[in-house]
C-alpha cells in the first residue's frame, strides 16, 4: 500500500476525512519461523467500517489481533513494525495491555458470554476498570450499553437471567454490549455472524451500521456480501499480504488487482 493509494482513498470519502484512529505501518507477524503477515500498512478511521476479507489462512484474523495485541497470548508469536492508536505505539513497553484492550474491544466468532447474569456480563468490564461510582451509575452504563447493542428491549425484564440462556444472536449482541460498556474507541469483530442465522446476522449488521462513527469498527468476515453490506472500506488479504485496500463499492465493482477480482468473483483457487 503506497501513500498515494491511501490519499486516493481519502479523496473518495464523502464525509470530511478524519485523522486515522489506528495506523499500522510495515507490520510483520511471525508464528515461530513462519511468517503470517508481510509488510502490511493500513489506516483505520472512525467514520468508516473497515472489512478485512480473504481466503482462509490469508492472515486477516492474525492482523486483526495485532490491533489490540491479542497475539501476545500466543506463544511464539512475534510482531514487527508499528501500530499506533491515536499516534501512540501500542507495542511500546509503557503500554498497559489491559487498558489497551478496553480502548480496543473485541467481539469473537462464537458468542462467549460469561456464565453470569445478563447484567453482570455488561457490568463486569466497567467494574474492573472503575467506570461506575455507584449502583445508579452502573445501572445507567448497563442500560446504555444494552440499548446501543439493540438488546435492551428484549432483556430489560430479565437482567438477572443467565447470559448463556439467550439465543445465539442475542448472546452476540450481549458480547457487543459488553465491549461497548467500557467505552472503547475501536471495536474489532472477528467473524461476528458466522455462527448466527440470517435474521440474527441482519440485526448485528444493522447494529454495526448504527455504531459507525461512534467507534472505529474493523470486521473480519468470510462472507463477502456481508463485507459489501456493512463496510465502507475493504481490505483484501492473500497469503499474509495486503493486496488491495479501498472504498468498498469500488473493490466490489471494479477492483484494481487481478487477485482481488478472482477472489470476489469466485474464481479463486
Amino acid at each position: 500500500m503506497t501513500d498515494n493509494s491511501l490519499n486516493e482513498i481519502a479523496a473518495h470519502q464523502h464525509a470530511e476525512p478524519s485523522a486515522p484512529k489506528m495506523t499500522a505501518r510495515n507490520v510483520n507477524v511471525f508464528y515461530g519461523a513462519k511468517q503470517a503477515i508481510s509488510n502490511v500498512s493500513i489506516d483505520v478511521d472512525m467514520d468508516n467500517v473497515t472489512a478485512f476479507i480473504g481466503p482462509s489462512g490469508c492472515g486477516k484474523s492474525t492482523f486483526l489481533r495485532t490491533l489490540n495485541r491479542m497475539n501476545d497470548t500466543i506463544s511464539g508469536a512475534r510482531v514487527e513494525g508499528t501500530i499506533e492508536l491515536d499516534g501512540e505505539n501500542i507495542y511500546a513497553p509503557s503500554m498497559d495491555v489491559v487498558q489497551l484492550r478496553a480502548r480496543v474491544g473485541m467481539v469473537f466468532q462464537k458468542p462467549n458470554p460469561f456464565p453470569k447474569s445478563i447484567f453482570e456480563n455488561v457490568a463486569y468490564g466497567p467494574r474492573i476498570h472503575g467506570l461506575a461510582a455507584n449502583k445508579a451509575d452502573m445501572d445507567a452504563i448497563v442500560e446504555k450499553s444494552l440499548r446501543r447493542a439493540g438488546l435492551w428491549d428484549e432483556v430489560k425484564d430479565r437482567l438477572s437471567d443467565s447470559g448463556t440462556a439467550l439465543s445465539g444472536g442475542q448472546q452476540q449482541r450481549l458480547c457487543i454490549a459488553r465491549a461497548i460498556a467500557v467505552d472503547p474507541e475501536v471495536i474489532l469483530m472477528d467473524e461476528p455472524c458466522s455462527a448466527l442465522d440470517p435474521i440474527a446476522t441482519a440485526k448485528i449488521e444493522e447494529l454495526i451500521h448504527e455504531l459507525r462513527g461512534r467507534y472505529a469498527i474493523v470486521i473480519v468476515t468470510h462472507n463477502m456480501q456481508q463485507a459489501a453490506r456493512v463496510s465502507q472500506r475493504t481490505a483484501f488479504f492473500h497469503l499474509g499480504n495486503l493486496i488491495e485496500y479501498g472504498v468498498t463499492s469500488e473493490i466490489f465493482t471494479n477492483p484494481r488487482e487481478v487477485r482481488t477480482k478472482d477472489y470476489i468473483t469466485g474464481r479463486y483457487g
Binding site: M224, Q225, A228, F252, T253, N254, P255, V258, T260, K261, D262, I264, T265, G266, R267, Y268, G269
Partner: protein, 235 residues
C-alpha cells in the same frame, strides 16, 4: 471465459455463456431486420416488409428472456466486479437492441407508403449504404461485447459521426427534393423518418459500445464530442 479463469461454481459459467448466447442471437436478429427492411424498401417487397414487422416479436421475447436470466443471476449468484458489470451491461444492451428492432419494424411499416407514390425519389438509393454503416456498428459493438474488446468499442463510437454525416446529407437532399416537388412531400417525409431511424440505430450502437467499454474497463468512456445534428440545428 474471455476474461480470467473459470468460476469455482461451474453452473455460473454456464449461465454467463447462456446470457452471451442470447445477446448474440438477439443482436443477430436485429441486424438482419434492419438490413432486410432496407432491401425490402429498395425492392418494394411488401411481403418481406410484413415479415419483418411480425418477426419483431421474437426480438421482444429474447429481451424478456435476457431480463429473466439477468435477474436470476443477480439473485442466485450475487455477481461481483467484472461479472456484475457484464450482467448489468447485458441487461441494458438487451433494451437497446430491442429499440433497434423497433426501428427496423418502423422502417418496414413505412415501405408501402413510400412505394405507393407516383414519383421516384432518388434519395432512396442513399439509404441502403447508410443502413449498412449503422448495422455494421451494431454488429461490431456486439462482437466487442462478446470479446470484451474495449478498443473495438471506442472504434465503433468513432464511426457514429459517419452515420450522422450521412443523415445530414440525406436530410438536405430530401428537403431540396420536397421543395422542388411538393407532390412528393408525403413519400419524402416517410423517407426522412427512415433516415432518422437509421441515424438513431447508429446512436444506439454507440450506447452499446459505451456499455461494452464500461463492462470491460470498469469506468465510463469519457464524454465524447458528437457530430452536430444538421436537422436539429436548422430550426
Amino acid at each position: 471465459m474471455a476474461n480470467g479463469g473459470e468460476h469455482t461454481i461451474k453452473a455460473f459459467d454456464d449461465e454467463i455463456v447462456e446470457l452471451r448466447g442470447l445477446i448474440s442471437e438477439m443482436g443477430g436478429r436485429a441486424e438482419a431486420a434492419v438490413l432486410g427492411a432496407m432491401q425490402a424498401l429498395i425492392r418494394q417487397d411488401q411481403t418481406a416488409a410484413s415479415r419483418i414487422v411480425a418477426e419483431d416479436r421474437k426480438i421482444d421475447e429474447l429481451e424478456a428472456a435476457i431480463e429473466r436470466l439477468v435477474v436470476q443471476i443477480i439473485a442466485l449468484r450475487a455477481p461481483m466486479a467484472d461479472d456484475l458489470r457484464e450482467v448489468v451491461a447485458a441487461l441494458k444492451i438487451a433494451a437497446v437492441i430491442e429499440r433497434i428492432g423497433d426501428y427496423a419494424k418502423n422502417i418496414a411499416k413505412r415501405i408501402p407508403s413510400i412505394g405507393s407514390g407516383r414519383h421516384k425519389i432518388e434519395a432512396v438509393s442513399m439509404l441502403p449504404a447508410m443502413g449498412q454503416l449503422a448495422t455494421e456498428m451494431v454488429r461490431d459493438a456486439l462482437d466487442a461485447f462478446a470479446a470484451r474488446d474495449w478498443e473495438e468499442a471506442i472504434e465503433v463510437c468513432d464511426r457514429d459521426r459517419a452515420v450522422d454525416d450521412f443523415y445530414n446529407s440525406v436530410f438536405r437532399t430530401l428537403v431540396t427534393f420536397m421543395m422542388e416537388n411538393p407532390a412528393t412531400i408525403g413519400q419524402a417525409a416517410h423517407l426522412l423518418f427512415v433516415a432518422k431511424n437509421l441515424e438513431r440505430i447508429g446512436d444506439h450502437a454507440t450506447n452499446v459500445a459505451e456499455m461494452v467499454y464500461y463492462a470491460a474497463k470498469g469506468k465510463h468512456m469519457a464524454e465524447r464530442e458528437r457530430g452536430d445534428d444538421f436537422a436539429a440545428s436548422t430550426e
